[in-house]
Each structure stands twice: as C-alpha cells, then as structure tokens.
C-alpha cells in the first residue's frame, strides 16, 4: 500500500511540474486538465484549478463504476480507448484555438508535426466523448471545436511534447496561410516519419525537453 501511495505522490509531483511548464509556455487556461493512468484507475486534476497553480490536494482518483463528471468520463474513455496511452493533457493554446474555429483538421506543414502527431490532427466537432474518440482514431492528438487541444502519450512527457508540437504546427499553419501558401507534408513522407517515431523515438528525448524548459526557467 505504501508503495502505491509513493507512486501516486510521484505522479502528482510530475503533473504539478507539467502544469507549471504549460503555464510558462502560455499553453493553458482555466478548465484545462491532466490525467495519468494508475493501475485500473486514473488520477485527474481538478478542472476548477488552473494547471500552473495545482497543489497535491487538487487531484481525484477515478475508477470504472464511479459516478463520474463529464470531464472524468472523457479522460477515462480516452485512456480506455488508447490502450498504449498512459497520460492525457487537455489544454487551450493560442494558435490551436485559432485553428479550431475555422478548420475540420490541422494538416502537417512541418515535419516534426508529421513525425509526432501524424499527417494531420482532426478537429472534433464537439466536446462529446464519441466525437473526441472519433477524432483520435489512428492519432494521439486532436483539436476540439470549443478551442481546446488534446494529446495522449505513453508517458506524461510524451503527451507534453504532443501539446508543444501541436501548437508549433498550428502557428506555422496559421502564419503560412496568412503569407498565402501553407504546403502540406506529403502523405507517404508523413506516414513514414510517424511510423519511425512510434517505433524508435525514446522516452529519454521527451524527458530532455522537460529538463531543458525547467533549466531555462532557472
């Protein structure tokens, strides 16, 4: 039991850290949430607390069969659907929010987006669970028409990288459209890079990104 308590505390600390980083990068607003799979349950942040202000009291552990809020149902459903995923971040980022009101998908115009997110990220037409799971089919990230974005990762670090790459890709798409010529990464190139990333890209690279952002802050 003590081991499990220690693990929960460790997960909470990691989520608190990610919440602060999302704030530092201007990638979050009130209402955003993070969840991490813990055994058969999930540990979820309180949506009423802004992610950069999380403390270890702002978490709820939710299991199948519990009476769940819509937010809890969404996170539980995503981690039930994405068996390989262990962490979900739902956030509101400036450029992703611009895209969600105008497009039904965000195409890859940069190759790191193609590599990490895929050929495109779909925009879910609502925040309804079924619509979001449909948008996540064969993908680990999507946008939501209400202005949010969502990334699933094998680790919390990977979900965070997904959030960062989504926003970078959204900025490039928005501004290249303004210039007049967003050029999509070719489908075969995108599929190949995404396949290689899923097979080879290490957890270490994700952790490096977090370490670097933290150190820049110091």
């Amino acid at each position: 039991m003590k081991t499990e308590d220690n693990m929960i505390e460790k997960v909470k600390r990691k989520i608190i850290e990610i919440g602060k980083l999302l704030g530092k990068e201007d990638l979050t607003k009130k209402g955003d949430t993070i969840s991490v799979r813990v055994g058969d349950s999930i540990l979820l942040t309180d949506p009423s607390i802004p992610l950069p202000e999380l403390t270890d009291k702002d978490f709820k552990r939710v299991s199948q069969g519990d009476n769940m809020s819509p937010t809890e149902t969404l996170h539980m459903a995503i981690l039930g659907y994405k068996k390989e995923g262990n962490a979900v971040i739902v956030n509101q980022a400036p450029y992703c929010s611009i895209v969600t009101g105008k497009m039904d998908k965000l195409p890859a115009v940069l190759d790191d987006f193609a590599q990490i997110v895929g050929y495109s990220a779909k925009v879910s037409k609502s925040d309804n669970v079924i619509d979001i799971l449909t948008a996540l089919k064969k993908r680990n990230a999507c946008l939501i028409q209400n202005g949010s974005s969502l990334a699933v990762g094998r680790t919390l670090e990977e979900a965070f990288t997904g959030v960062m790459v989504l926003e970078k890709g959204a900025k490039a798409f928005v501004e290249s459209t303004i210039i007049g010529n967003p050029v999509k990464i070719g489908l075969m190139d995108a599929l190949l890079m995404n396949f290689i990333y899923k097979k080879k890209y290490s957890k270490k690279n994700q952790e490096n990104l977090l370490d670097q952002i933290k150190k820049t802050e110091e």
Binding site: I98, V183, Q212
Partner: protein, 212 residues
C-alpha cells in the same frame, strides 16, 4: 582555439540558442570546424542545457566517422558538406525557430530588405526543397540553397545558417528570426490595414486569408 575550447564554445552556443528561444528540446544542432578535415558537432537526442563539453562529437567531414560513444546529430551530413564546400565557413547552426518555421512551412523566401541584412547574409534567403531528414536529397538541396549565402530555409522543417565564426552564425540566426517576424507581421498589417499586430490580429488575418 584548441579542441577543449571549441567544445566549450559549442556547448555555450547551444545554451544561448535555447535562452534566446531559437531552439527547444533536442531540436536543432550546432557545429564548429576543428581543422581542415574535422568538425565538432552537438550529439543526437540530448538537450543543450544538460550537455557537457565532452558530450560533443568530433566527426571527420570527409568520411563522417567518429569515435565517441555519443552519436553526432543526424544532420551531420549537411554540416560536413558545407565545411567541405566552403573553406571560409567555421560554424553551422540549424534551428526550428518559431517565425522562420512559419516561413519554411510556406516555402517562402525571406527577402533582403535592409543593407545590414545583405551585408550579413548575402542576399534573400532561399528555400531548400523538402527532403526527408538525414537524406542525401535534403543535404544536396540545403547546400545548394545556402550557396553564396549565410542562411537558407529548409522547406517544411526549419532554418540553417553558417558563419565565419560561431558569433557571426548566431547573429545571422537572430536577424533571420526578426526578419521572418517582420515579414509575417507586415503581411498581417496589409491584410487588415492596421499597424498593430498581436495574436488577435493574426487570428483575424488568418480568417480572412482562409476565405480567399
């Protein structure tokens, strides 16, 4: 400079690029020429702030061979090709800086609009056609696009700059990012007829441009 001093210099430049917001995570890479046949490059997949001078990799610019445990950056072919072709170049930097990335996504040149820009970079910044990372196609396209210049964009990817010194390459990075930002901001101003450009204006310009 001796090898230890150059390793330190590469490490410090990586940190500086991160602090200036020009690179993030393990994205991007830096190298300096060591001698006529070798270069010192950043390793693959390690973040700049954690790197130690001894983590840098000494690579033969003709054979691409190296002896250290760390693997050199996957874009070592591009760095080596530039050192082989241009003896005056002593430093190469590759970044995914935010505004230049938007230009690269549009496959759009950065025009030379000031004398200072022409003096430092050599003229308009061309775009190397898209190639998959680490391929000969990307290497050849990039080396060709940067010929007679100190910078080029890499379509759908980022930006590559070079200099006679690391300091000069760094100055090129900063000027390019500023120029890309100005280019995009000017376009927003033109579309909206407004001087001030912030996120609200970018959103408005995007919505108008999407309707065309």
């Amino acid at each position: 400079m001796n090898e230890i001093e150059l390793r330190n210099l590469v490490k410090e430049s990586g940190v500086r690029l991160v602090k200036e917001g020009l690179v993030r995570g393990t994205w991007g890479n830096v190298s300096v020429r060591f001698d006529e046949t070798s270069m010192i490059v950043t390793p693959s997949g390690l973040d700049y702030l954690s790197l130690k001078p001894e983590d840098m990799v000494l690579v033969d610019i003709n054979t691409l061979e190296y002896t250290s445990e760390n693997k050199p950056t996957t874009e070592k072919k591009i760095h080596a090709a530039i050192y082989r072709e241009r003896p005056e170049i002593n430093a190469v930097i590759h970044t995914h800086s935010p505004w230049c990335s938007s230009m690269a996504a549009a496959h759009t040149e950065i025009p030379a609009v000031t004398d200072e820009f022409v003096k430092l970079i050599g003229g308009e910044v061309r775009v190397a056609p898209y190639g998959l990372p680490s391929t000969s196609k990307l290497t050849n396209a990039t080396v060709s696009a940067i010929r007679d210049r100190k910078a080029c964009l890499m379509a759908g990817h980022g930006v590559l700059v070079c200099g006679e010194s690391l300091e000069e390459a760094f100055e090129v990075c900063k000027m390019l990012e500023e120029s890309a930002k100005n280019f995009i901001s000017d376009r927003v101003s033109t579309i909206l007829g407004k001087e001030e450009v912030g996120l609200k204006e970018i959103k408005e310009a995007f919505e108008r441009a999407s309707e065309i």
